[in-house]
């Protein structure tokens, strides 16, 4: 059996070296390169043309999701499997939409990782159980109309964008209420809707998501 050639992309050096060490235990797997962010990943992928890329999601300079989009545009034959601590629905759905062949969480046992890599070698998808359940749940939900669907995230209203812009600056509910001349209760309702639409749990995640996804302009 030919060795499966793997490129590891993760900004966490201990994790990257640890995975490389685990992969070295297997005769049928080999690490052909490592990269610590998305930009370096594209460069190394061009040089090494791996069979599989194990890719983190959150990385500096260019995150894993953007990198999947770039790589699948340039080298569609390469199988990319996300390997991340992020169980965020939005990351999962974006990764699949951009062409990832799998989505694995870093709480796998080594044997589970080997099994998943075998699956990808055989043309199957590699998805952690919990993440597969999220995908099934998404399909069980009533079909979304084109009007309210955008990248798997519902569109924010103009007012919600205004609230989100202030959240990003670190403003409190009271400060947002004063700035927009609305009550604090109304701010709370807008925030609740924002969290629901962005599939995030709190205002910090909402702010990070808003900046990362370009939903608002970065505060100066």
């Amino acid at each position: 059996m030919e060795k499966l050639r793997i490129l590891l992309v993760d900004d966490h050096v201990l994790f990257r070296k640890g995975i490389a060490s685990l992969i070295a235990n297997r005769q049928d797997l080999t690490v052909v390169g490592e990269a610590e962010d998305g930009i370096e990943a594209v460069r190394v992928a061009r040089q090494t043309l791996p069979d599989i890329i194990l890719m983190d999601v959150n990385m500096p300079r260019q995150n894993g999701l953007e990198t999947v989009k770039v790589l699948k545009g340039e080298m569609p034959h390469i199988n990319i499997v996300m390997l991340t601590v992020s169980d965020n629905d939005n990351d999962l759905f974006k990764a699949i939409k951009y062409g990832a062949k799998g989505y694995l969480l870093k709480n796998l046992e080594p044997q589970q990782l080997y099994d998943m890599l075998d699956k990808v070698r055989n043309g199957e998808a590699a998805i952690s159980g919990a993440m597969a359940a999220k995908i099934l749940q998404e399909f069980r939900q009533p079909e979304k109309t084109e009007e309210n669907e955008s990248d798997g995230v519902d569109e924010l209203t103009a007012r919600e964008v205004e609230v989100l812009e202030l959240v990003v600056t670190g403003a409190t509910n009271k400060e947002i209420a004063d700035e927009l001349s609305i009550t604090e209760n109304t701010v709370k309702i807008h925030l609740r809707n924002i969290l629901e639409k962005l599939h995030v749990k709190n205002r910090i995640q909402a702010a990070v998501h808003a900046v990362r996804e370009g939903l608002i302009e970065k505060p100066s």
Binding site: D11, H12, F15, N58
Partner: protein, 122 residues
């Protein structure tokens, strides 16, 4: 030989480190656990020299570090963030406060050390 115990909810971090340390002659991984409460039980039994905790900065992990140091203040704990490449070293100093002056002296002593370190670091 230094005995190392690894705590990692994210199993891949723990297994990866264990694999990396296997080639280090003077280090021996004596245990690995993902559940914090079970890990504390095992650490009490095994009494390793060093505990490596992979964490995401959650309150539960921070409390656990205190729990581990209560088992043995001489145990060294290395916290490794799963978000980035930051590592922390924790150690404890246990003493009895028989009088207010005991606390005051420790505060002064620690503050002086901090100043000394900052001079060294500059």
């Amino acid at each position: 030989m230094t005995d190392v115990f690894i705590i990692s909810e994210y199993l891949m971090f723990g297994h990866g480190l264990k694999s990396l340390l296997a080639s280090e002659e003077e280090l021996r991984v004596v245990g690995q656990e993902k559940e914090i409460d079970r890990a504390i039980e095992l650490i009490s039994e095994i009494q390793p020299d060093v505990v490596v905790v992979f964490g995401n900065g959650s309150d539960k992990i921070n409390v656990s570090i205190v729990d581990i140091l209560n088992i043995d203040p001489n145990m060294q704990i290395i916290g490794v963030s799963v978000q980035d490449n930051t590592c922390y070293t924790y150690s404890a100093k246990r003493w009895n406060a028989m009088d207010v002056s005991d606390l005051v002296n420790v505060i002064k002593s620690d503050h002086q050390k901090k100043r000394d370190y900052s001079v060294v670091g500059e």
